[in-house]
């Protein structure tokens, strides 16, 4: 029986600026099905956090209910975490972020959690421009309840039990673009080369960063009629631009050739290097991105990559003009104005 992953590690494993190996960013051993795409997302998050030298204790992991929402247990076990009520993760995230804006908020949600029961919460957290990374592990079915069709399943597909998807599907990237998210991307759990730089950019981005990650359900949605199976996605994935993330402190070396690429500077000084693969690609135009997504969907393709990036957008705290000091760090001295000021206020009403 081996439900335990050995604590042995490769003797030549690289360490980051904090002296940690990626194994220090792991969590519990996953209890998801063998081959679940969510585990690959977990692994990509671990890699991104390790490479960015993020201090695990400065991260808050948030999730709702579903297979996807179990995933935060499997990474960064030294981070803060809150597994909230179904579909209510955005509210909890908002509350936590209000109290302490200094943490990095990593939220994991699924298609049921965000596109069905939590659709309203999702819409409003996008509107609020909360500074967080909102990841949806999108497999098109409710895996935890044995594979009923989710609202993100393409119209006309069948699930494993043979039920037909009768209704128009919800595209969460399109929703996020319409509602004003300042970072929108789609990726595939099986393509870490694309996913890891996107995650790193999303973590460095100040504002609401949304990544829809196609993540096949190996148990209930990996059959031949599915449009979210490993084989289908491998065959129909397409990308408009290759992106690479160049962190602040590193000398600019990138897998993209700089000659034909465009650099976008993020809030913290790191750079998103973008190499166009399709001529009409423009990551500064949200409505163009929506058109592109729809166009590829019609052709049966899954468009992935960075769709939209507004590096200078305001976040929730800026919009609300809150304190620079996180609220949870304010002491009684600064929060309580004292009896003299209170008397003055009271007197003004007399």
């Amino acid at each position: 029986m081996s439900f335990i992953k050995s604590t042995f590690r490769h003797p030549r494993l690289p360490v980051n600026d904090l002296g940690l190996t990626y194994r220090d960013y792991e969590g519990a051993l996953s209890t998801l099905c063998a081959g679940c795409g969510h585990d690959s997302i977990t692994s990509a998050i671990i890699q991104a956090c390790h490479e960015l030298s993020i201090q695990p204790s400065e991260v808050a992991k948030l999730s709702g209910i579903g297979c996807s929402s179990k995933a935060p247990n499997y990474f960064l076990n030294k981070a803060h975490g809150f597994n909230s009520v179904h579909g209510r993760m955005p509210s909890v995230a908002t509350g936590a972020n209000l109290a302490n804006q200094d943490l990095l908020y990593l939220a994991m949600s699924g298609d049921g959690d965000s596109a069905s029961i939590g659709f309203g919460q999702f819409a409003h957290v996008v509107r609020r421009q909360l500074n967080m990374v909102y990841m949806v592990a999108n497999n098109g079915v409710y895996g935890l309840t044995k594979g009923q069709l989710a609202a993100t399943a393409d119209k006309g597909v069948k699930n494993k039990a043979g039920d037909l998807s009768l209704f128009t599907d919800i595209d969460l990237c399109v929703m996020a673009l319409q509602l004003g998210a300042s970072f929108v991307a789609r990726s595939f759990s099986g393509d870490k080369q694309q996913l890891v730089p996107l995650l790193k950019a999303a973590m460095s981005h100040k504002g609401f960063a949304f990544i829809d990650i196609v993540s096949p359900c190996v148990t209930f949605n990996n059959h031949s009629g599915s449009t979210r199976s490993y084989d289908y996605v491998h065959d129909h994935i397409t990308t408009a631009a290759v992106t690479d993330f160049v962190p602040v402190k590193k000398e600019i070396t990138s897998s993209c050739d700089s000659g034909e690429s465009e650099d976008v500077c993020l809030h913290d000084g790191s750079i998103m290097r973008i190499k166009k693969l399709q001529t009409d690609y423009d990551c500064s135009n949200a409505s163009q991105a929506i058109v592109d997504i729809e166009k590829h969907k019609k052709a049966g393709d899954i468009l992935t990559g960075l769709f939209y990036l507004e590096p200078t957008a305001s976040d929730f705290h800026e919009i609300n003009d809150t304190n620079d000091m996180p609220l949870n760090k304010l002491t009684q001295d600064s929060l309580c104005p004292g009896s003299r000021v209170l008397t003055g206020i009271n007197d003004s009403f007399r």
């Binding site: 029986m1 081996s2 439900f3 335990i4 992953k5 050995s6 604590t7 042995f8 590690r9 490769h10 003797p11 030549r12 494993l13 690289p14 194994r23 051993l29 996953s30 099905c33 063998a34 081959g35 679940c36 795409g37 585990d39 690959s40 977990t42 692994s43 759990s189 099986g190 870490k192 096949p216 190996v218 148990t219 990996n222 490993y230 084989d231 491998h234």
Partner: protein, 602 residues
Amino acid sequence: MKKTDTDNYQHFLNVVDCQQACPAHTPVPEYIRLIAEKRYTEAYLVNWESNVFPGILGRVCDRPCEPACRRARVEETPVAICRLKRVAADNKDDISAFLPKIPHKKNGKRIALIGAGPASMTVARDLLPLGYDVVMFERDAKAGGMMRSQIPAFRLPETVLDEELNYIINMGLECHFGEEITSLDKLLQANFDAIFVGTGAPNGRWLKIPGHDQLDCNATHPQIDTGINWLAKVSFEHLKYEDENPAPKRVVVLGGGNTAMDCCRTAKRLGAEEVTVLVRSSFAAMKASPWEKEDAAAEGITIMPNYNPLEYKIENGQLVAVLFEQVESVYDKAGNRSLQATGETLLVECDQVLVAVGQDTAFEWIERDIGIKFNQWGNPKVKSQSLQSSLPDVFFGGDAAFGPKNIISAVANGHQVAISIDLYCQNADPIEDRSDTSFNLVSQKMGIHEWSYQSGIDHQVRNLVPHISWDEAVKTLSAEVELGFDEKLALAEASRCLNCDVHTVFTESTCIECSACEDVCPMDCINFVEEQVDDEQMVKQFHVPELNEEQSLLVSAPLRTGHIMVKDEDVCLHCGLCAERCPTGAWDMKKLTINHINATIK
């Protein structure tokens, strides 16, 4: 990168580092698993089949397997493989019923063996069950060769030696003890179908420095002797010290190999009060096994490295001291050592000096005009796979073929020769007609998270072998120093084995490239990479691009997306998580079984 050939056992055998490092390719993980299940008799038989002398080797093997052990690469110390072998030998039941049956009807072929050391005895063990008449000639009174004459009883008890040699002698080996072959030509006339020469390297080297010629090397109680000669005299009780003839009190041993260690420890037991080993090399570069050096030091023997002997000092015909110069080992770019004198000298007073600086083969008894060719070092020219000499019916093996090595190499040679002789006697070519072995890979899956072997891997320090007190040890010549593992220690040590013979086997056609195995692997062995013309570029995509050049890669054919899977075998724990995480069974844990181990010795 070229796809790994998985239709052949070679890649898989390479992964089992201990087995590959063992000259006889003993299936180490297999017998350690049997020990872990307390199936000592079976563990012994697995050993016996391939290395012939498990009880002997479990005590005095050179252990090439241990430096190769994978645990030493993921933790600090290897599994105590050698001492586990002894556990099997110590705890086995009567094995006679499991030994091969010797056919009553012989095949009519007669084979002569010269010498009764490990190589010869292995040839006998392999050929007797096939119906050969095997005749052995040994100059000493008992079988065993250097195992008996050069290894002291405190390391290898006579009972153990006799037991394992008797298994072979009792197979119907015709023994001629005390019969030294003085002419190969004469033996060639004696109508043997094949002759095996396993005479070892019986000549100890002298140091011809000033003073040597004035000393009597052949005295009854010589002041100077070669290490192996002297050990043999002690072993066969030709050398006895009594009250009127007390043992030398101050003994100097020259040399840094295992013979030197055996000499100094034996001298101490015979009654020497001051035993000093002086060696030209540095302490680290000494040829003796590290544990031999440790044991000698524990018994109060002084080891002085970096001293080169210059002269034996003689007064009134008696040896009184040895003069040394201090040297430094200097290595050039190619790694060749040269010794540079520091200018300091040292005079070590002593009553006896034992010279253990090497040994040579002895072939004065082989006539040079009968067709056997020798190389520039005076060793016979043999074909490397068949060990057949330039005279087709004469075969060499062990130290006689390649100069002093070790017991397990001699056993391996014995297996090679037995196959060659068997082919030769059937009028087949010992190389051309040599058949390779078949092999099997059998899944060890018992359930979703269950394997037939202990797959969980944790940190465990190496267990030390208990020994009698060092004060007791130096008092008697024959008391075995090491006590061997008791059952508790043995089971603890056995559980450190990583089961490297249970292989991660990959099937391209069922892989859906979900990367589950890559993500879960605790040692970052598994990589799915884009195929590129340049191997270096591919290695750069690995999780850990810094490779161990001595270890192999398992390379798959291109997968559905065109990517290929490359597994770096270096630090794989064989924990089976990749196979547990694979949703399609593209990975499986399969145990390698090689049907004819001896055929893999090349």
